[in-house]
Symmetry: D2
Subunit: 294 residues, 4 copies
């Protein structure tokens, strides 16, 4: 059913769940297939890579290392939403071309952000999955475009959005005929300032109850603190997330963006081994390459 009064949706918080995303409409879990990698089944899928694509060397080295560590999908931003116009805005199409090359080399499907309705076609030509970032969660024309394209969508929760608004944003995409949507909790804005955002892990069981769509966690943006990412990633697996998206950089201290929240390859490798144990403890699995580097 639909919300009666959208103006009060903040107050009603989750009480009304729109139709196509609702588990009542479709009780079975939706499995999202990103070029053969399935999200929403028993395996927990890890997406990793740099915040922004900065150079061929940076992207390729990072991509190879996250593959070795056990990532199943590569992330990397070509178009970057930045609070200030004077910050690095991404490599644009040149970055997309680099993604395409390393995708072929590693075999890892790639996900990258799209910020503008006019970019959807271009980005769809290179990426296996399109990311709609938290600042665009209520960019309704972009949601509609995403709903009309034939690629899976990684939809991040707005840092100021309720669970209900998050589901309604997904409904915009579903309503255009695209049901390949992964929901991602990435931290909400609260009064607390010791972390970049407050990672709302309760969003996982809440969303899993309300919708059939898979749910993943971004502990990198959710904390903003490299040393805290492993603890929150473990909690995310324990709480029932279907996957993780994490920032990894082969040299975090040289990153143009988000270096302070990016793991280095060694940290990533160790974390994957720890996550595998927790996945088993909760009846899920994480498959790692035969010879991990650690």
């Amino acid at each position: 059913m639909m919300e009666i009064n959208p103006c009060n949706s903040h107050v009603n918080g989750g009480s009304s769940i729109p139709s196509k995303v609702s588990r009542k409409t479709k009780p079975d879990d939706t499995i999202v297939d990103i070029n053969g990698i399935k999200v929403g089944g028993s395996e927990i899928i890890v997406i990793a890579g740099p915040c922004a694509i900065e150079s061929r060397e940076q992207l390729f080295n990072t991509a190879r290392s996250v593959k070795t560590g056990g990532a199943k999908i590569l992330r990397g931003g070509a178009f970057k939403p930045r609070s200030s116009p004077y910050n690095f805005q991404g490599m644009g199409e040149e970055g997309l071309k680099l993604l395409d090359i390393i995708r072929k080399e590693t075999g890892l499907p790639v996900v990258t952000e799209v910020m503008d309705t006019r970019q959807v076609e271009l980005v769809s030509g290179y990426a296996d999955m399109l990311q709609i970032g938290s600042r665009n969660m209520q960019n309704f024309p972009l949601l509609k475009e995403a709903g009309m394209c034939r690629k899976p969508i990684l939809l991040k929760r707005g840092m100021m959005s309720t669970i209900e608004e998050f589901l309604l944003a997904a409904e915009y995409i579903l309503n255009q005929g695209n049901d390949q949507i992964i929901l991602c909790e990435r931290g909400i804005r609260t009064f607390e300032t010791s972390t970049r955002n407050t990672l709302d892990l309760s969003a996982v069981p809440m969303l899993k109850r309300l919708t059939h769509l898979p749910v993943i966690i971004d502990p990198s943006h959710g904390t903003g603190l490299r040393w805290m990412v492993p603890a929150m990633a473990k909690a995310a697996v324990a709480v029932g997330a279907d996957g993780l998206i994490m920032e990894v950089h082969y040299k975090p201290e040289e990153a143009l963006c988000d270096g302070q929240q990016s793991l280095n390859p060694d940290e990533f490798d160790r974390l994957m081994l720890d996550l595998k144990k927790i996945a088993q403890a909760v009846g899920r699995e994480i498959s790692l390459p035969a010879h991990p580097s650690v």
Copy 2:
């Protein structure tokens, strides 16, 4: 100057002000000229009209009544950002054409929202000022397009955006060469649920200190409560706002959107008389038509 670390901009809250919007760069107040109506000078300008354009009759009747009441600019949404895809999405270009007709009849300049980079040219052809709504405050491609068009921009603060992020969003527009920007505080999201949002009136003195751009208040979205709009509008004038934007509907009980926060024409007329007194008490002015209807 630029922010050092955009990732921590939330924590640093307002400590770093970007260059072109800063009052340090330009100490004098910017006056924004919307087809002859000047915002940012001694006169307090009131923008009024319906949330959404619903019909010729609704728009025209409301427009005539707000002109009589003392509004200097007409508002009305043709493209509406709605939380749910199943809510009324606006009349689109047909609404813009209605705006154009009533603009000519009343002589009131019009402001209407633009949500998509692809709409900027179309909307610019009809409107005297473009509104960028709170959900798009960090839609950076849209901000850049707004910066390249030759129309004044009404930029609304995101409901969970800091003052610093708000100024950086304006900087995106200014950085493209458009300095005709009005900033609008419209309520932030907090834990309190008795009002739709929490109208942050302290944003007015804070912004007036940090930037040369004019600042207005939206008490309709800021409260979500029709009966509370007058009290908050008065406070906005007393606190130093350069203007107000308010929802007025000739029949609020029949509105397709936001009826519960829209004033009817009689309420609007009475409020304007009250606001005029407060404006005088703080050394500003509000000019009303010779024969107000109340």
Copy 3:
């Protein structure tokens, strides 16, 4: 009536108003009488003085100057709630004795904070009104003690408390038989960090609608910024507050606490003249001494 489920009171936000504080129970405004000074009538009452009593000289000089400026009640803390145990904790009973001396000299009733059930009797012996601070708004044993004492109570809203919880805290006092309660909004905690708190002026019309108790505003704690206090004080008068409580220090730069948000006597005098004009514009009044110092 009572709330059905206190555990969900946050979500229900203001929908259920407890009985004795409700305007439905008692439609007429309650006038609180603090030793002859009446709060809740047509006159807007200003309470002023230092955050903490630091010395005889500091208290007496400040008290004399706020009286000259037009304050009707003197504030000053003897027992101070401080986030850190290593900060100045107040002068204790010695401070209360100083309050008593200056009260007799100036004729100004005094209000001071009580933090502990064991202090209620002691503080009641010196003060004309007891303040329960925001950190103790849900200190229920203290509320009950306040309800049993025969002094008016100045109850500050918790920085994390909803309007409904605020009213329920007042209900604790009323339920013990004390109806001499002034409610004070003093800023809530939000994500915004450019001000110390976010002063929620919409609390004034909301509370005035829901309860018969008078409502005042604390722009000093609400902003934390001395230069912003005048703007927010003006807005508070315009929005309908029955009074203001402000920090004034005869030498703010030497204050042991809250100096950065305290007005000096000249600033206070000028502000009172401005507030008088706004009070008149909204049909209220502020009476000033015959020969103000400015």
Copy 4:
């Protein structure tokens, strides 16, 4: 070291850590000993029991069942902080006496809340650990009394208190000579309303890094939703908490308080088995009775 400016502690968020609670002052973990039960070591300790003590039958049946399930400490409120004065306020000393009886029978140490400085001595006579609830986290006289008593203290984070304020509250206790303090994260207040509070699990790694005190999680108040408690309890163990405190009621549907967030004995038993597996996966342990009931 101390905070420079307590008024800005919200903004500085965690940047300054007071001395006695700091891990810099004492690098080794503090182990809190509650009558032989050690919190802060390798074993994860579970505290369970009813929100409020309602009757002999309710307390005793619940206590026996949580012991069977693997709880090591019994919780139960005799003095209850309730938002409304018309809600059940607890059994008072009669409840304390029941706690004492069941403690002797089961051998489980008991923790119960103290709300008033005048109650500290009384409650200390019955309880093995005193709880200071979230509404009293900045009740400084109570913190000082707790610091002077010779019982371990369970200090809950205020629902809108920063990490820094939380540590400063603990510093009040430590500064009086009592270092037997357990910190408890129990959910913070945010804009999200689908859960009762937002459980901030990132507080665990943050606190463990900043202080030597043990940290536990309260998933019952943190979510307010019985069905969500198991998922968040699992996440708490994975994230590194030293323990959990959970509401269990032998008949949740008949509870006078918090029934909707209380587990029944069967749910508790199953959860303990699940938690044991996760504890092992993260290198910790949970010891269960030889013959669990499930």
